[in-house]
Symmetry: C2
């Protein structure tokens, strides 16, 4: 099959990561190397909404400084979106609009960077375009701190979030150890359905200051079991550090963090964090001093503590996507295949988009200890290579420099 | 006056900072350079309690690797404490015990590293020792992220916390900007009585992604004024980022964060954070999507984002303390005097301990804007030099290495 000649459209979608912009860097730099086939690069603002609203950025030479900064910039430099496309068989209006835009800008290569939902969007667009007499190659580029995309060994974004979590847990733990009087510290970590990020707190144990107890959403959470385990650790050490997923649920599938009649000082109902709830349980029921820490969006935005391995792979999946469409691959997502653990080696492959969109990869039983309150060596062996290396940040006057487009 | 010959005792007290251990490094390395006078170095475990309980670490050559790591280790590597000494005129039992320990270990140099309360402890010990026929030199070494010690231009620990806050605020803000639908993000920052740390969030504006509104504890907080100001920013930008001190109080001096009948899912009363309260006010009263972020202890423990200027000055005050006692200075605290802003230059001087112990330095009016919701250029000029330079961290397998004594 002959390579198409035309323009490329790229967009970001879903929750940002510390390295999604490194994938944009990979796409842009690889596309520029293939200017014989890819004439112009258009970036959608706020993902698919930018395409529908004709809100695009045409990348040019004057953007070069910002393109370089993409490797060090968190968030979504071009804007993200959560936009679910309808089934085109029921309502094709948005697809017709997209086709119009593809024709208007002569888009022959379409790359969409995101997680499960974004791959669903990407798959639907590929489906529709397959029914139409318009030649375009479509590839999804994986990204999510949650690491819950299937078929890929891991997702870009996970390694940097894991590195921030492990190192910050260590710092918070070391800080807690300063005092002679014991304390229970409970840290809440992102990942509503999959416990990969919460599990990565265990990497802090390699530095000697990790959590004592780890609760993943894969295991039903029992408050009584939790209290007993905290008490046991505390009695032995006079300290206890707990890492808990925001998404832990009881045996009936009810989130521990869900609101249940809690009101604040202004009389408003409030969604409580699971860590603060558990901390007050420890204080009230066990009579042990406790505090909670919520990492919140800092864990996905911590550009200043990116994993260099993660940055390089984020660039790599962007480059592989461009190489893929140029080789007439279509309707697939780039996946990372681990070739060996030691030395850590990967290859980029491709897998059908539809399958990638509809499966949520959870932490397997083999990586969770039998008590359900920690991880096994298999998890450490899996995760440790992903946090290797530091990406020297770009600081100016002590403040980071981020890309600014428009 | 002749230099004393004997041993040195050093301890850490109060809330940890990212660089208090760098001061320990400064003390130990400078003391070793003066081994003609300082024969042995003893470090108290958990500050003054270690001295009272005969729980000391004698520093030796085998500690050299850990001593080097002190420059990169957060928390209190030797343990901290909050221990208020009584007036010796009312109860001298602990002072008698201390004197016994000083004699037992031939302590001629006593250095205590901490904030306001620790300087009070240090002053009381100096007072007592002045009444006794025992020759010892006593100096306080300043440390606090809160930057509220008087007479010193700033305190070691502030610059690193300010750097972490400014850079993380920027990341969280950039992350928020990813979405087309507007949001209000409210970040809660440490500093119960003085707003230095909250003010330092303004440094993020130099990178282009700082807070729109900043509320310091120096200005009485009005919820109505807050709502109006958020609404105004949001209407103009469709986004709003707020930095608020944990210690803001209303006009009657009542903490906004104080508990007021809020219960959690387990029926326990809960101390609510001010950011989450304000976020629910924004959501409920203004109908704008909002979220809260609490940096918690991460902001004082973030060794991985130390300011190199701060690290060097933390070492500097430790060295100056040793030089001070060797020159027979006594009953003083090391202070930092700013000689010039541009280029930034400082000198180490000394100031009477008692005065340092009993004043809390607040952000002056000249550094707060007239609307009471931001800072002036005077604050930026003051704070910016303190966050300069990055202290290359020590990573092993992607995880930081911290000092471990015993």
């Amino acid at each position: 099959m002959k390579k198409l000649v035309g323009n490329l459209m790229y967009g970001q979608s879903g929750g940002p990561t510390a390295v999604i912009n490194a994938s944009a860097y990979g796409v842009i730099s690889e596309a520029r190397k293939n200017s014989e086939y890819i004439k112009e690069i258009y970036v959608m603002k706020h993902g698919i909404e930018g395409a529908l609203n004709d809100d695009l950025i045409k990348i040019s030479e004057k953007d070069n400084d910002n393109i370089e900064l993409l490797k060090y910039t968190p968030g979504s430099a071009f804007g993200s979106v959560r936009h679910k496309l309808p089934d085109y068989k029921e309502d094709d209006s948005k697809y017709v609009r997209l086709l119009y835009m593809f024709k208007k800008y002569n888009i022959r290569y379409f790359l969409y960077n995101g997680g499960n939902d974004s791959m669903d969007t990407c798959a639907k667009i590929a489906d529709y375009m397959n029914t139409i007499d318009y030649d375009v190659r479509i590839i999804g580029i994986p990204k999510t701190i949650d690491n819950d995309l299937p078929f890929t060994d891991h997702t870009p974004g996970f390694g940097s979030a894991a590195k921030f979590i492990a190192n910050t847990i260590m710092e918070v733990n070391y800080d807690m150890l300063a005092y002679p009087n014991g304390k229970v510290t409970i840290v809440e970590i992102m990942g509503r359905h999959a416990g990969w990020l919460t599990a990565s707190s265990a990497l802090a144990n390699l530095g000697g200051f990790g959590p004592d107890l780890i609760y993943l959403p894969e295991i039903p959470f029992s408050i009584e079991k939790f209290k007993n385990e905290v008490k046991e650790v505390y009695n032995a050490k006079k300290q206890c550090m707990v890492a808990v997923s925001e998404g832990v649920m009881n045996e009936d599938g009810v989130f521990i963090s869900s609101s249940s009649g809690m009101k604040d000082a202004f009389g408003h109902f409030q969604l409580g964090g699971v860590a603060s709830k558990l901390a007050s349980t420890v204080a009230n029921d066990l009579g042990i001093s406790s505090r909670s820490v919520e990492f919140g969006s800092t864990q996905r935005a911590a550009a200043h503590l990116q994993s260099l391995t993660d940055v390089n792979e984020a660039i790599g999946v962007g480059e592989a996507a461009v190489q893929g469409v140029l080789n007439n691959k279509n309707d697939v997502m780039v996946i990372i295949k681990r070739i060996s653990d030691n030395p850590y080696q990967i290859e980029y492959h491709y897998h059908g988009l539809r399958e990638c969109a509809n499966v949520e990869k959870k932490v397997p039983k083999s990586m969770i200890n039998k008590e359900g309150n920690g991880v096994t060596q298999a998890f450490i062996d899996y995760a440790l290579p992903l946090i290797q290396g530091e990406n020297g940040n770009v600081f100016e006057n002590g403040i980071q420099k981020f890309a600014k487009f428009k």
